[in-house]
């Protein structure tokens, strides 16, 4: 959108002239029909269901179409604790989703293991194996918090570029659309994280 400035578009809109670009139209359409995978893991899944029910009504955002098959889904809402036993299946489901695909980590457990992170069978954050776009903290987050997270995701989708240097990752054939699936080891998952994907910040503590 280099020909028309944003203020000019606003002015035109006031005059009843709607101007758009292919990119904006395409992203507008995509962001308003984000179909999540019908997939719940734990407590947060109940709040996810509550969000899709009458009171909070996820369908106002075009996301009520929960797809039972990953092949038809755009969005994976990781709603709940990802255990080490479940992690390979989560990664496999993610791999089966077609591009463009997005991940929302809903709730403390999905983000970091949350209250259960010291457990031997709990994965400390789903982002160890799959890339996460939006993190929604809370235990569990209120349904409105999920809606807010979804709106943040829509914003992110709308800002994606179709062309140029900064174009969206999924247009780049060299970028991986699939991620390695960990296998069950004798003591832990092998590998215990995807080092290429997950690089935690080092928090320096003196004592």
């Amino acid at each position: 959108m280099s020909v028309l400035s944003d203020s000019l578009i606003e002015d035109l809109k006031k005059q009843g002239v709607l101007v758009t670009s292919i990119e904006a139209l395409y992203n507008w359409g995509r962001s308003n029909s984000v179909w999540p995978l019908q997939f719940g893991l734990a407590c947060c899944a109940i709040e996810m269901i509550a969000a899709s029910m009458a009171r909070f009504d996820l369908s106002r955002f075009g996301s009520e179409v929960f797809r039972p098959s990953p092949r038809q889904a755009d969005l994976m809402i990781v709603s709940g604790t990802v255990t080490k036993k479940m992690a390979p299946q989560v990664v496999r489901l993610f791999n089966q989703m077609p591009d463009p695909k997005y991940v929302i980590a809903m709730g403390a457990c999905a983000i970091s293991g949350g209250p259960f992170k010291q457990g031997y069978n709990v994965l400390k954050g789903v982002d160890r194996f799959i890339p996460v776009d939006i993190y929604i903290p809370g235990c569990p987050p209120r349904p409105e918090a999920l809606l807010h997270g979804l709106m943040e995701l829509q914003k992110k989708i709308r800002a994606q570029k179709l062309t140029g240097e900064n174009r969206a990752k999924y247009f780049d054939a060299a970028q991986p659309g699939e991620y390695p699936i960990p296998s069950f080891g004798e003591h832990d998952l092998e590998p215990s994280k995807n080092a290429a994907l997950w690089s935690p910040a080092q928090v320096a503590r003196k004592d």
Binding site: K85, S112, Q118, G119, Y120, N121, K124, G125, F184, G185, E186, H187, D188, S192, K193, P200, A201, V203, R205
Partner: protein, 181 residues
């Protein structure tokens, strides 16, 4: 219900060669428990279940307890009676040690409700139940080697990002970084 002392006396009369012991409970309002001889466990269990006065038909809670200092693992059964609506009677079985002789008789043939719970004990504590119909790991995956509910189990090292750690967790996180430094 009869007192555990009474039941103990009757059991000793019925199974003279079995070694049965009454273990006190530190909590005064709670009943003591009976430590059974593993060799006679199945017979005693059947007796408790079928005895006309007891009819302990409901084995509610079956669980393991690890005692590393004492050197054994325990299986604890909480018995109630649905018919007579009384209980609990607590019975315990102990393994000889914690690594080589961890075999106990399974009480699943007597109470079906012990089925999944004994599998869970096998998985998390490593007690092998002889006579269990389907003794496999239940909560962890099949290739898993450890028994995580034992007191000396060390969780795998995934302490890369612990921004708010203190005490034990901080120690583990520091270990992680010193190892990978």
């Amino acid at each position: 219900m009869e007192t555990p002392e009474n039941i103990l006396a009757r059991l000793q009369a019925a199974f003279p060669s079995a070694k049965i012991e009454l273990l006190p409970n530190g909590c005064p309002s709670q009943p003591p428990s009976l430590l059974l001889d593993p060799a006679f466990a199945c017979e005693i269990a059947t007796f408790l279940k079928n005895d006309a006065a007891l009819r302990l038909d409901h084995a509610t809670n079956v669980t393991g307890v690890d005692w590393p200092k004492e050197g054994y693992i325990e299986a604890v059964y909480h018995l109630f009676s649905m018919e007579k609506k009384h209980g609990p009677l607590i019975i315990r079985l102990r393994t000889a040690n914690r690594d080589t002789a961890v075999v106990l008789p399974s009480l699943t043939p007597v109470w079906r409700s012990a089925d999944l719970q004994e599998r869970e004990i096998f998985d998390l504590f490593g007690i092998k139940f002889e006579g269990h119909p389907d003794l496999r790991r239940i909560l962890m995956w099949d290739g898993f080697k450890d028994h995580p509910m034992r007191k000396d189990y060390v969780a795998p090292d995934d302490f890369e990002y612990e921004p708010t750690a203190h005490d034990d967790v901080l120690e583990r996180a520091q270990q992680h970084f010193s190892k990978n430094a």
